[in-house]
Assembly symmetry: C2
Homo-oligomer: 211 residues x 2
């Protein structure tokens, strides 16, 4: 089983490393980071450089596609080399997935039309504009399409996918191995729970980087 993680200039690190950390522990999985051109790619902060070992063209038929989100996504919404690859890879994939604003790229490729899906909470309106049906769930399964909410939600998606692919026992072993027993010190991780003034402040900034 080949699992391709799609990154690009100005992706968000946790978007891709979260699901990678879960899915890479699937017995027999071959994981690979791919980009239009191989080589190091920087996150939106410029601080983290993660290497794409293969070009998209070198990985035409992954079993699982995971598209990262991040501010760089907005520059790619009409970028044929990526969108064409997504459509072609989706033709033969078992699972086509995304984290955060990565779902906007799947939607721009026409893959989420009429499907239940999610994205970063600040991107749900845009997701709807591309024909998807946004939900408030953190991880949305619609057939073989799996989309996760913002940034950290890819961990939950990855764990759920491990369960779907290899069963509950393997998923629980992965959860135990990564000690994924989250205990955030605050309870402000969604717009329903966060103080209203912070929700408004983030909406006003309207993009994902909090600086």
């Amino acid at each position: 089983m080949q699992i391709a993680f799609v990154i690009y200039d100005r992706f968000t690190a946790l978007d891709v490393v979260g699901p990678y950390e879960m899915l890479s522990r699937l017995p027999g999985a071959e994981t690979v980071f791919v980009a239009e051109r191989p080589g190091p790619l920087r996150t939106e902060t410029g601080v983290v450089a993660l290497t794409a070992d293969k070009a998209l063209a070198e990985v035409p038929h992954p079993d699982v596609v995971v598209v990262a989100g991040g501010p760089g996504q907005s520059a790619l919404m009409e970028h044929a080399p990526l969108l064409d690859w997504l459509r072609a890879a989706d033709d033969t994939s078992t699972w086509t997935t995304s984290v955060c604003s990565g779902s906007l790229l799947l939607a721009a490729a026409g893959l989420l039309r009429g499907r239940r899906a999610t994205s970063h909470w600040l991107a749900l309106d845009q997701l709807r504009a591309y024909g998807a049906e946004p939900t408030g769930e953190r991880v949305v399964f619609d057939g073989k399409y799996v989309t996760a909410a913002g940034v950290s939600a890819g961990i939950d998606m990855g764990l759920s996918l491990v369960g779907r692919i290899a069963g509950d026992d393997v998923a629980q072993a992965v959860q135990l191995g990564t000690e994924y027993d989250p205990q955030p010190a605050y309870d402000a991780g969604s717009p329903d729970k966060a103080p209203a003034h912070l929700v408004e402040a983030l909406r006003a900034r309207s993009r994902f980087i909090l600086t």
Copy 2:
């Protein structure tokens, strides 16, 4: 405020990207990935290559030190270039921190003697052998020393540290921006909660990689 993330050959990706994703959103923070020698370093799977932009020697006085864990840690427990740097950096740091087996490196440097600390649940006995006092908590503060449990616990540590450094409002904004509202599909993230046969199986394998 300079925040240095220490990586090395065969580190674990989420160990460092988790706290990075939280701490990099601190207003005014300068984050940098450091290693003994700059350049790309591979995780234990060989799949992810993350670039250290600076050598340890180029970053002598970070305000915050974050030491990643991962299987490669075991080769460094007597490695003077790293341990000497940790001791020297700790002389002037505001916070000295670790994720997962990264605490074993802090302990090997003599920095956790007599202190309450944690590590991956499979490494707690070793942590005790180096003079620390392991606890069952997910994130342990003992003065300026902050240690997190296995792999994913660095996210919780990063969020807590954001709160200590910049206050609850900023921490909640970071949590909302990263949509950190975890909803794992299973409840097996600690040895207290996981099925006993999985705990035993992981103990038997005795290292962190689940393959």
